[in-house]
């Protein structure tokens, strides 16, 4: 894991001091709320329905046990004893008091954490693959490059007042676990025939009001130049992105209005100006950061076998454990989607338990996934049973990864000022309909994603089944979308037909799943595959017929 050096710590400390000063000047009335708003947003502080919401950055979703324990401490001391892990691999607290905020920032900075650029019209926290460093199919660990991006984008003087927010994701394998084609910039690390590393660069993806799949603007940029190339993309966006309409201000609109060819030509022209200026970090800096992400010293003698005689454990292993690149090791996903739970929520006790288990069994490293789950990436197979028991003791051993009850949901109208409808109760009601694990396993991989408004924080466009809450003449209503994917085969879900009320949407999902189970070609055909094979018509008939 990356550790701060004196420079990183000095910058974070200065940034915390700066924001404390800004808060003090706001409280003295020296700056208006309108002037203060972008300052607090760039420090992760939102004013929500009931209180301030704070979004703490978890760079590329990786944190240590110590850091997780601090997140638990913050939940206990400043919130109502829980936190909410987000689809951007961050954590949100929903009940923060402004007068305690300075102390909270101090607590975070003690463990090399902060809330910078988790909101606002700037380059946001960089996201990445939760299996980084452990997946057999990656060409290299993508996180050093995400860290280079983190540093490059922190307090960037030219790009702190962009037309709109800007999200970057980095992966290093053909399997996309980070939805890079749905980001403003998606970077896929690849290795060429000469053994060199470079990025394929997608630009202009995004969800929200106008969902767009990113376009490849460059098939290869050498790793040594990807920061200056990113700078060129951001400059074209900062200069030419629309500022007349907040709903048309994301880079995807600029790419669409210019066309990919013209946009690419402008980026290349800008890069031609920037490339000679020495903006890229030197190889020594790459080496320094890469060294900090060196894999743990794997025990080469670790047994590669697993005792699956406990049937409950066996089910969890089958559903929540993935193959690791090192023999004798495995990747374990901790579901934050327990029965009747709130997707992505964890109590302080659960966070502490995960911290303990990570230190004991997983080389002190935890990942947050964009599906609002947690991952322990390096677990000895011999330790999996003890890990599972430890998780089970705190209600974190739900074996439902990627199943129908593993639902992404935004906070919705229970918390959010933007929402038109509640998301959490919809997710809970659907999950309750399929509580029986055998049924869930029979249905197989099915990604349901629920957003409480058109901004799409619940990724409904990328759901195999997407649900969008809307306001229909003052009533909460829900649109039904099918066929989305945020994986390497990215597709955007399409509206199936007229919307429903709260109970109606749950019934509609039941009908869809019922139809799918009868129509699939075999147990291996996922819901999404059946939809792609048959098209929307028979699904529509099943729901509305």
């Amino acid at each position: 894991m990356y550790r701060y050096d004196q420079y990183d710590q000095a910058i974070v400390d200065a940034r915390v001091a700066e924001f404390k000063d800004q808060v003090a000047r706001r409280l003295r009335g020296e700056i208006t709320e309108d002037q203060f708003k972008p300052l607090r947003l760039m420090n992760g502080l939102y004013l929500q329905l009931h209180a301030y919401m704070l979004r703490v950055a978890i760079p590329y979703g990786t944190l240590s046990g110590t850091q997780m324990r601090m997140l638990a401490h913050i939940a206990r001391k400043y919130d109502r004893d829980y936190g909410h892990f987000t689809t951007r691999q961050n954590i949100q607290y929903n009940w923060i008091k402004l007068e305690q905020f300075a102390d909270l920032l101090d607590d975070l900075s003690k463990v090399e954490m902060h809330a910078f650029q988790t909101s606002g019209n700037c380059i946001r926290n960089i996201s990445s693959d939760q299996f980084a460093g452990a997946a057999a199919d990656e060409v290299a660990d993508p996180r050093p490059y995400a860290e280079l991006l983190r540093q490059w984008s922190t307090l960037h003087p030219e790009f702190s007042f962009l037309p709109r927010k800007f999200k970057i994701a980095v992966i290093a394998s053909d399997t996309d676990r980070a939805a890079i084609q749905l980001h403003d910039i998606g970077l896929q690390l690849r290795r060429n025939d000469a053994g060199e590393l470079g990025f394929r660069v997608y630009v202009g993806g995004g969800m929200g009001r106008t969902p767009v799949i990113g376009s490849v603007v460059r098939d290869w940029i050498p790793v040594g130049q990807f920061l200056s190339y990113s700078e060129a993309i951001l400059r074209v966006y900062n200069r030419h992105g629309r500022r007349d309409n907040i709903y048309k201000a994301r880079i995807k609109i600029l790419v669409n209005e210019l066309g990919v060819e013209e946009f690419t030509a402008q980026v290349e022209a800008e890069w031609a100006e920037l490339a000679p200026l020495g903006l890229d970090a030197p190889q020594a800096e790459y080496d320094r950061i890469i060294a900090q992400f060196a894999p743990p010293a794997f025990d080469l003698a670790a047994p590669d076998t697993l005792d699956l005689s406990d049937p409950d454990f066996a089910v969890w292993v089958k559903q929540n454990v993935h193959a690791h690149k090192a023999p004798g090791y495995a990747i374990a996903t901790i579901s934050l989607k327990p029965k009747r739970g709130i997707p992505g929520d964890a109590s302080s006790a659960q966070m502490d338990a995960v911290a303990d288990l990570a230190e004991k069994y997983a080389h002190d490293e935890i990942r947050v996934t964009h599906s609002q789950n947690l991952v322990l990436a390096h677990v000895k197979k011999a330790d999996l049973y003890a890990l599972w028991q430890g998780l089970d003791a705190v209600g974190l051993a739900t074996p439902n990864l990627d199943l129908v009850s593993d639902i992404i949901a935004c906070p919705g109208m229970d918390y959010c000022t933007l929402a038109n409808a509640r998301s959490i109760p919809i997710a809970q009601k659907i999950a309750a309909k399929f509580e029986d694990l055998e049924t869930q396993r029979d249905i197989g991989e099915l990604k349901i994603k629920v957003s409480g408004c058109i901004n799409g924080c619940g990724h409904h466009h990328a759901g195999h089944i997407g649900i969008l809450g809307v306001d229909k003449k003052g009533e909460e209503a829900y649109q039904l979308l099918l066929g989305g994917s945020g994986a390497e085969d990215t597709t955007l879900a399409k509206i199936l037909g007229p919307g429903f009320d709260e109970d109606g949407i749950v019934v509609a999902v039941e009908k869809l799943i019922g139809f799918y189970r009868g129509a699939r070609s075999g147990p291996q055909e996922r819901f999404l595959d059946t939809y792609r094979r048959l098209g929307p018509a028979p699904f529509k008939e099943a729901v509305y017929g």
Binding site: I11, A17, Q151, T154, H156, P157, E158, E285
Partner: protein, 164 residues
């Protein structure tokens, strides 16, 4: 160095009330340039001007062939949230412009650090800035992560300088 000599009015009228005049901040040692500032279109139309004003939607690169006869480029910030002017300033510095680049308009103290980094060296904010807050703001960050137009070495350079 902050040159406070023209913190007060410079607009020409005799002793205008402080509130009516922009309170300037200037970080240059040469004499302030006080001739008329032309709108970009007038300048490009061939007028004999040494100072030009660039609005947010205007392409600062149209000035690049003329930099040698420009002493001042004033970049307008009608709204502080419109960040296009940051790119404009940095593009001028990248092209080698050494004259004055002034940020004018809705310029707030919490933007000054960023503005200095992209190459602004004078400021004409709509409302006067508190000198103590300005000083604290500009002294805030001991290090920077990335290169810009101010010549500061990013931390990656400090980390790997010879003998470090």
């Amino acid at each position: 160095m902050v040159d406070h000599q023209d913190q007060q009015a410079v607009a020409g009228a005799a002793s205008p009330p402080l509130d009516d005049a922009p309170a300037r901040l200037r970080f240059r040692s040469d004499a302030p340039f006080e001739s008329p500032i032309a709108p970009l279109a007038d300048f490009l139309a061939g007028g004999n001007f040494a100072a030009v004003r660039v609005d947010p939607g205007e392409d600062v690169r149209t000035l690049l062939p003329h930099l040698d006869r420009l002493k001042l480029v004033e970049i307008a910030f009608p709204k502080f949230r419109d960040g296009r002017g940051y790119s404009s300033a940095r593009i001028l510095r990248e092209a080698g412009f050494e004259g004055e680049i002034r940020a004018a308009g809705d310029v707030l103290v919490d933007q000054l650090g960023f503005m200095r980094r992209v190459g602004f060296d004078s400021f004409a904010p709509n409302r006067p800035l508190d000198p103590a807050v300005v000083a604290a703001t500009l002294a805030r960050f001991p290090h920077v992560y990335m290169k810009a137009a101010d010549g500061l070495a990013p931390v990656w350079a400090l980390r790997h300088q010879a003998g470090a």
